[in-house]
């Protein structure tokens, strides 16, 4: 289920929280259906098993599933073996009731457990992850001439997460385990109604997040033949809470051949923590006042105009305000970003304000296909970015990391970018999809630390420094052809990723070479109950890594993606 009310590109803004849970659908006639799926992938010995049952009638319906996914170590295109592991099992259950015509009530639950997940780029592995999501939803549609629909929804999710370094060589020096428990609960009420030629969507939503977690570090030392054990407990989150309540509205109207949409959202955001950690040095407050609350305004307005034939122009502008997350406010010394630093939260962060303009052109011809080109430009005030803090103020607590960064507000940054896509008409036997996208970010005044022989010896300002961790220009092409009334479909895909040479000098971000990968798949449906698909990813066995792939913490080594993978999937449906 999706709670998308207000969306601004690039970053997650309020209301764009996504909670996935299975949704059952009613059946006109009593029915029961099932799906059994098995998949295998070479290279990392991947296994996927999935079993699903769904059924019911118009008034009562259900859906339940369960499965397992497991992957092991893989060999990259450069023939290097990366020790990884990933084992997840899951169950879901959902049931729906049609209380009366057009009134639907749904209950759903999902449980997901991960064990022994090995992260090659991190100094620790996931020992256990238990995630539960439950939701309740009531929807009514077609209420009358004015009120159109009403939705009342609530959800709850909990996560128990344990990470340790017990299987790492560094554990011989020091063992560490971090256990975090998190809860997220919320809900929304949304109604839509018609006022003249206008359609209005309005509602309220609320979200409560709680996180609490602790790191235990154990060090064994041998002195004069005696073994001593030192233990330290630190909080990574200490009973931290975040509450967000929002009220929103959206207006859709039409003036002549122009569609007009305007949205407004007001959020009250509040956070606090029971932290006893306090960090003030030389009159600089790094971590002290724990409570913060904000009243955030977000709005957007856009028009869509048909220029000629099936050629549309869409323009929109808006302000999206994003409060700092609970992690950005309160995390204490964990490597939670893509670089090799421990991160410290900042309880006094200000919300990001993103002023953005979008322009989009859409063109559709039934026999040619649809084209979309769009571009955006945004100015972000109080952009949240990690800033190095000196080791005299705080030292890292994770083995292998090189320092501590604290989430801080950068006064102003700007981003710009574009997307292009083409999709061939679905009625054609041949199919072609092509996409391209790029984003460029700039920090007008970035601070760079000067390093000489491993020592930080000074600092300087880098003007117009590219923002770190921005993916490069990327494009993809996919070609397919439907044989035998779509029963046999070969598909060929190419992904082209440009080198990322526009990297942050201040962050000493490394450039990444470009790469091309190719994949081929074949799906065959011999009968309505059986589907078989097989293929190969990274056909050329190219060695490559994404720009956002972590460098392996504690080394200069980059984390390569898997080399060539053959796979096969078998599915039975009834």
């Amino acid at each position: 289920m999706t709670l998308v009310i207000f969306f601004v590109r690039n970053r997650t803004y309020p209301g764009s929280e996504r909670v996935e849970s299975p949704q059952p659908e009613p059946y006109l006639q009593p029915a029961i259906h099932g799906k059994i799926l098995y998949g295998f992938e070479s290279n990392w010995n991947g296994q996927r098993e999935h079993l699903e049952l769904a059924g019911g009638n118009r008034n009562f319906y259900f859906r339940a599933s369960g499965g397992f996914k497991g992957y092991g170590s893989y060999t990259a295109g450069n023939k290097e073996l990366f020790n990884t592991s990933f084992r997840k099992s899951y169950v879901t259950a959902a049931t729906g009731f049609q209380i009366k015509e057009k009134h639907r009530f749904t209950l759903s639950y999902a449980y997901n457990q991960g064990n022994d997940v090995q992260f090659p780029a991190l100094p620790m592995d996931e020992q256990l992850d238990k995630t539960q999501v439950a939701s309740v939803n009531y929807e009514v549609s077609g209420l009358g001439k004015i009120w159109n629909s009403l939705q009342v929804m609530g959800y709850f999710s909990s996560v128990h997460h344990a990470m340790d370094n017990y299987n790492r060589p560094v554990a011989s020096i020091m063992q560490a385990i971090t256990i975090v428990d998190a809860w997220d609960a919320g809900g929304k009420v949304v109604g839509s109604y018609l006022a003249g030629d206008c359609k209005i969507l309005t509602g309220l939503d609320f979200e409560h997040i709680y996180k609490d977690g602790q790191k235990k570090m154990t060090m064994k030392m041998i002195m004069s033949g005696d073994t001593f054990t030192s233990v330290k407990y630190t909080n990574v989150f200490n009973q931290t809470e975040l509450n967000n309540a929002g009220i929103f509205g959206e207006l859709q109207s039409r003036f002549g051949n122009v569609d007009f949409t305007a949205a407004l959202r007001l959020d009250y955001n509040q956070a606090n923590s029971a932290d006893t950690f306090y960090l003030v040095k030389d009159d600089v407050a790094y971590f002290d006042k724990l409570n913060s609350d904000f009243l955030n305004l977000s709005f957007s307005a856009g028009v869509k105009k048909r220029l000629v034939s099936e050629f549309y122009l869409t323009a929109a502008l808006g302000l999206g305000t994003r409060s700092p997350s609970i992690l950005e406010r309160f995390i204490k010394l964990l490597p939670v970003q893509f670089d090799s630093y421990d991160y410290l939260g900042n309880p006094q962060l200000k919300p990001e304000q993103n002023y953005q303009v979008d322009l989009s052109l859409d063109y559709y011809l039934p026999n040619v296909g649809s084209f979309t080109v769009n571009g955006f430009f945004s100015l972000v005030h109080n952009y949240i970015l990690g800033k190095i803090i000196p080791p005299s103020v705080l030292k890292p607590s994770t083995q292998g990391v090189i320092g501590v960064k604290q989430f801080s507000n950068v006064d102003l940054v700007y981003l710009t970018g574009f997307e292009f896509s083409y999709t061939s008409p679905s009625q054609k036997r041949w199919g072609l999809m092509a996409t391209a996208a790029a984003t460029f970010g700039t920090n007008p005044d970035a601070v760079k630390y000067l390093v000489s022989e491993g020592e930080v010896v000074g600092e300087e300002t880098v003007y117009n420094d590219p923002l770190p961790e921005i993916p490069p220009l990327e494009g993809s092409i996919q070609f397919s052809y439907k044989f035998f009334k779509k029963r046999l479909v070969p598909r060929f895909m190419v992904r082209l990723v440009n080198a990322q040479n526009r990297v942050s000098e201040a962050d000493e971000e490394e450039k990444t070479p470009g790469f091309v990968t190719a994949a081929f798949s074949l799906s065959y449906i011999p009968c309505n109950y059986f589907t078989i698909s097989a293929g190969v990813d990274n056909i050329l066995d190219n060695p490559y890594y994404e720009h956002l792939n972590r460098r392996i913490i504690g080394s200069e080594q980059r984390l390569y993606e898997p080399g060539r993978i053959f796979y096969i999937n078998l599915a039975i449906k009834f």
């Binding site: 060090m219 030392m221 030192s230 233990v231 000196p390 080791p391 030292k395 020592e455 010896v457």
Partner: protein, 240 residues
């Protein structure tokens, strides 16, 4: 200086500047310069030769040195007008290891205000307030950890080596310094520890007055006379 440690200092001065990528006006800067410390380890006035049984201490023990590593912290510059500047803008604790050449040079991040200075001092080891367990989790500093039950934090110093005992056998020694313990009764059972002793101390470098001009870089050569650890203020005999 009365803890058996002898330091001497030589000052060199280089004219220098800090590179800068300026494109617009920066705020007015305070006249300041840079400071570099280079550490040397000597025995009997000569550079240390490790793993060679060529030294004899004041107790007539023949000995060799395999490792020398220690912390210094809170480097302080005292100005003639009574003010002082503590090195802490980037790092305040420095690890020096004879086996890791880059640790033997400290390029001070802090901009030191220009002017006349009377002297320089530093803490040998780490002060009680800063010497907390688990502040270092990565090598090489993590190998200096000091058990919590013995006071926690980190060794101030490790000098490891070997000596020829009274029977002629070559035996290892670990000459370590850290937080001390006071024990109730006899013996050294950790359950009988009732107090800890902070053994860090301040080293005032002799003859360390200097003059620093705007944008100058001064280089200080600091030597540790290792044999002094075994004779000042008391003669230390490895056989007892």
């Amino acid at each position: 200086m009365n803890r058996g440690l002898a330091f001497f200092i030589v000052i060199f001065m280089f004219a220098g500047g800090v590179s800068c990528n300026k494109k617009k006006e920066d705020p007015p800067r305070i006249p300041a310069g840079n400071v570099i410390f280079a550490f040397h380890h000597l025995v009997d006035g000569e550079p240390l030769h490790k793993n060679e049984l060529i030294y004899t201490n004041a107790a007539a023990n023949d000995y060799l040195i395999t490792e020398v590593k220690y912390f210094i912290s809170d480097i302080t510059f005292y100005k003639s007008d009574g003010s002082r500047k503590v090195v802490q803008d980037w790092k305040d604790i420095f690890y020096i290891d004879d086996d890791i050449p880059e640790t033997k040079t400290i390029r001070v991040f802090d901009q030191i205000p220009a002017g006349e200075y009377d002297s320089i001092s530093f803490v040998f080891g780490i002060s009680e307030e800063k010497n907390q367990s688990f502040i270092y989790v990565n090598p090489p500093e993590v190998f200096m950890a000091w058990p919590t039950v013995l006071g926690g934090g980190y060794h101030y110093m490790m000098i490891n080596g070997k000596w020829k005992d009274s029977t002629g056998l070559t035996m290892p020694f670990d000459f370590h310094m850290g937080i001390g313990q006071l024990y109730k009764g006899e013996g050294y059972n950790t359950d009988s520890i009732y107090a800890f002793v902070q053994n860090w101390f301040i080293v005032n470098l002799p003859g360390s007055g200097f003059s620093l001009k705007d944008q100058d870089t001064l280089s200080f050569q600091i030597a540790m006379n290792i044999e002094s650890w075994f004779e000042t203020p008391y003669i230390y005999d490895h056989n007892y």
